[in-house]
């Protein structure tokens, strides 16, 4: 008798919950139902920073909440206080581990909490976030408030690759991450080394123009220094290896899909050569490189054990421990290579000649939550940090992971004086924009990157390259199928258009 009663209660509860779930999910909250102040009657004046402050002052007393990755939160915390003093708008920073900067926006949005106004994410998540309705485009706000000259001050390659998608402005760039090569000039310019290299390979020892040259140089340096300095290193451990794959693959002209049929092309010739390259680098790389992540890579680099590496720009700054960028990171060994590093663009082709390639991997962008109850104040904060005046400050903040992305930063005398080779650093970063390759900025991007990551660990774990590539292709196809072939096709088309836009901008 007890059991029957319990059964009844459970059934009713089930029914109620089911109805609740259906109705709850059925009623969508429209985008943009936020409190918007009436458009200001008077004209908006001043540079971007001043405009941001003027806009924010209208909302003095309110709070803007943002999510950010913990280790990158320094500038947001520090300048948030400055912003509050200047405008009366409080900035609350939620610091999260990297993975949660992707899952928390999702949870907060699906529950329609409206608790967070600004999400700091990476460009490859934009299509997924846009499709899920987590973020909203900012075109109207941009048109209204951002002055043209400040907009044009942003380096075009990065602007297009990180901020635009399907013709709209979905994000504001605050970080100019791009992959370039960092190499030990002291070894490259050593007369003995140059002589021996030329004798062995027939061309001058200089930053490689192709991956074949990269391997030859790498092997040579490892031999030349008797294993004290390894020719080259990169990430292979699970989690970030796919950036390295993408850099080489896309740089050599590889395409993830056939644009018409959406058949994955990763297991084609370029994919095979890319995996082979990733494997070959282990030959002259440090022992245990299959385990290497960013921590090992940068530690090894500043410790003088690696002659060539490519990864994010902070590695160049940290290696210099420049006095203008004080407070050296607490987790890196003291740098032994200050003053010895020079910079170059990464090779594109595997062999022979061809344009260089600079992958925009990772990279921090600030987006506007679609549930934000404080839209304009949130945009004011984003705009303020993005402004040319603040961008320079944030990128010079100690241990800042925010890399230069504005022409004014590249040309800044203060930045150029930060260390002897800083000017070359900035020029290379600027030049890299011309050859920028957008990240996996397509619907399902996270899943495709994960498949590539898996591919790399499989091969590192012993699986043969072609079968691993074929498995990856099969998985990618399954994802395309699940998300809807036409939708992914359209998204991929949008990504290819971004690529063309970058080429045409220069």
């Amino acid at each position: 008798m007890q059991k029957k009663r319990i059964m009844k209660i459970v059934m009713y509860a089930f029914l109620a919950a089911f109805m609740f779930v259906v109705f709850f999910n059925g009623s969508e909250k429209e985008e943009g139902t936020t409190m918007e102040a009436a458009a200001p009657a008077q004209e908006i004046k001043g540079n971007q920073k001043e405009r941001a402050e003027a806009l924010a002052k209208k909302y003095a007393g309110t709070t803007v909440t943002m999510t950010v990755e913990g280790i990158a939160a320094g500038p947001s915390n520090a300048f948030g206080k400055v912003f509050e003093k200047a405008t009366g708008v409080k900035i609350e920073v939620i610091e999260l581990p990297y993975e949660e900067t992707r899952s928390k926006p999702f949870t907060e949005h699906e529950a329609r909490t409206g608790a967070v106004d600004v999400y700091r994410i990476v460009p490859s998540w934009v299509p997924d976030f846009a499709a899920a309705g987590i973020i909203q485009p900012m075109d109207d706000l941009v048109k209204k408030y951002i002055p043209q000259d400040a907009w044009d001050d942003m380096e075009k390659g990065r602007l297009i690759a990180t901020m635009l998608y399907e013709g709209k402005v979905w994000a504001i760039c605050v970080d100019g991450d791009i992959f370039i090569l960092y190499y030990r000039a002291d070894i490259f310019e050593d007369p003995q080394a140059m002589k021996q290299f030329k004798a062995k390979y027939g061309y001058d020892l200089a930053p490689p123009k192709s991956w074949e040259q990269y391997n030859e140089i790498g092997q040579f340096i490892t031999d030349f220094t008797g294993g004290k300095v390894y020719g080259g290193a990169g990430n292979r451990a699970a989690g970030q290896g796919y950036f390295w794959f993408n850099q080489i693959f896309l740089g050599a002209g590889g395409k993830l899909f056939d644009p018409d049929t959406m058949k994955p092309l990763i297991n084609g010739e370029i994919g095979r050569q890319t995996m082979q390259q990733l494997k070959d680098e282990l030959k002259f790389g440090p022992p245990g490189m299959e385990n290497w992540g960013t921590a090992e890579l940068w530690s090894g680099f500043v410790d003088g054990k690696v002659a060539m590496q490519f990864s994010w720009p902070p590695s160049g700054r940290f290696a210099e421990a420049a006095s203008g960028l004080a407070n050296y990171p607490t987790w890196l060994p003291p740098t032994k290579v200050a003053g010895k590093i020079k910079y170059a663009l990464l090779p594109g082709p595997f062999k022979g000649e061809g344009p260089p390639a600079a992958g925009i991997m990772g990279n921090a962008i600030w987006t506007l939550s679609s549930d934000s109850k404080n839209k304009e104040a949130a945009f004011a904060w984003i705009m303020w940090m993005n402004s040319p005046e603040m961008a320079l400050k944030t990128s010079l903040y100690p241990n800042s992971l925010m890399d230069p992305y504005r022409y004014s930063q590249f040309d800044s005398p203060e930045y150029q004086a930060a260390w002897p080779n800083a000017k070359m650093y900035l020029e290379t970063l600027r030049e890299a924009g011309k050859y920028a390759i957008p990240p996996t900025k397509i619907l399902g991007g996270t899943e495709f990157d994960e498949i590539v990551d898996r591919l790399i660990t499989s091969v590192m774990g012993g699986q043969d390259i072609q079968s691993a590539l074929d498995d990856a292709a099969k998985r990618m196809d399954a994802v395309v199928e699940r998300l809807g072939r036409d939708r992914v096709k359209a998204s991929y088309k949008a990504l290819l258009e971004l690529q063309d836009q970058i080429r045409q901008a220069y």
Partner: protein
């Protein structure tokens, strides 16, 4: 009348007397359990029903719409090779891990019930591994197992005479070994402490009486001590198994499920599909299938164990 040990009939002398106090007395068992039930079911029943509900939809924010799809999600899970690979991986780690942890824990507990100098320090130290936050455990052991920078390879190198660079975490078989050792390190203290507490409540005079009657120490242990702590053993193994089935952190940090997907646990798989890919319905269906499998196995095992207990 055969009545199971340690069960008391509730206040038989009050039968037939009225009033709320006596009603409370008669139902005191239920009343004592009620607060817990309210907390657990109150907070726990909605998520369960919610999961069942969305497992019947296709709820994936990257795809518009939330259509009703019946059992399609369950079908996807049942034919998913990745899901069952993860299930197998989880089963291997759990069975091997829990078994080894149990025997070692029991052995340690027995060791420490005797008079040993420095017992205090041993116990306090043995409690520490479980205290470490999983993230720290993961990253620490990741460095320990590191092929170039890890002390484990260094120590092995001392024994073998030359430098050793076994890449533990990037090859499947060694990764399994590393994961099980790490789990063992972290959780044997749990077994140890639970069993030690159980052994501490056992009356040594029972064992001594048997020994006077001629039984060996081994026999007294098996025939007398073990049956007394049997409920504690069951609980220790059960709880440890349930926790081990959810293994996530060390896999996430040490191998990322790799190489490929060979060390991916069920919890890691569900985390990926849920928190990374936002596939809510798929994750719900996967969780429910997991729940059904675990509940079936556990209830079967528990019944077996409890049947053996005499009345």
């Amino acid at each position: 009348m055969s009545r199971p040990n340690n069960v008391i009939s509730i206040a038989p002398e009050l039968k037939g007397v009225g009033g709320i106090k006596t009603w409370a007395r008669q139902h005191q068992g239920m009343l004592m359990v009620l607060p817990c039930l309210i907390v657990m079911l109150g907070v726990g029943i909605f998520p369960l029903i919610f999961s069942v509900g969305i497992s019947l939809l296709r709820w994936e924010p990257k795809i518009p719409g939330r259509p009703f799809v019946g059992l399609a999600n369950f079908r996807d899970i049942l034919i998913s090779a990745e899901y069952w690979t993860a299930m197998r991986t989880t089963a291997i780690i759990v069975v091997l891990g829990v078994t080894i942890e149990f025997f070692f824990g029991l052995g340690l507990a027995l060791l420490l019930t005797e008079k040993i100098k420095g017992k205090r320090i041993f116990m306090a130290i043995l409690m520490l591994p479980v205290m470490m936050v999983p993230v720290v455990v993961g990253y620490t052991w990741r460095i320990l197992w590191h092929s170039a920078y890890g002390p484990i390879n260094q120590i092995i190198g001392w024994f073998v005479g030359h430098r050793v660079t076994i890449s533990w975490l990037t090859h499947t078989k060694t990764a399994f070994f590393a994961l099980i050792v790490t789990e063992f390190w972290q959780w044997t203290p749990f077994m140890f402490l639970v069993l030690l507490a159980g052994l501490s409540s056992v009356n040594p005079e029972l064992g001594e009486a048997a020994e006077i009657d001629g039984a060996s120490k081994w026999q007294s242990f098996w025939r007398i001590t073990i049956p007394v702590i049997r409920p504690v053993i069951l609980v220790a193994v059960l709880i440890r198994t349930l926790e081990a089935l959810k293994i996530f952190d060390i896999i996430f940090i040490m191998t990322g499920g790799g190489p490929g997907i060979s060390t991916q646990s069920i919890a890691f798989y569900l985390y990926r599909t849920g928190a990374r890919h936002f596939r809510m319905s798929h994750t719900a269906a996967g969780s429910l299938i997991f729940l059904i499998i675990v509940a079936t196995i556990i209830s079967f095992a528990v019944k077996q164990f409890q049947d053996k207990k005499g009345g």
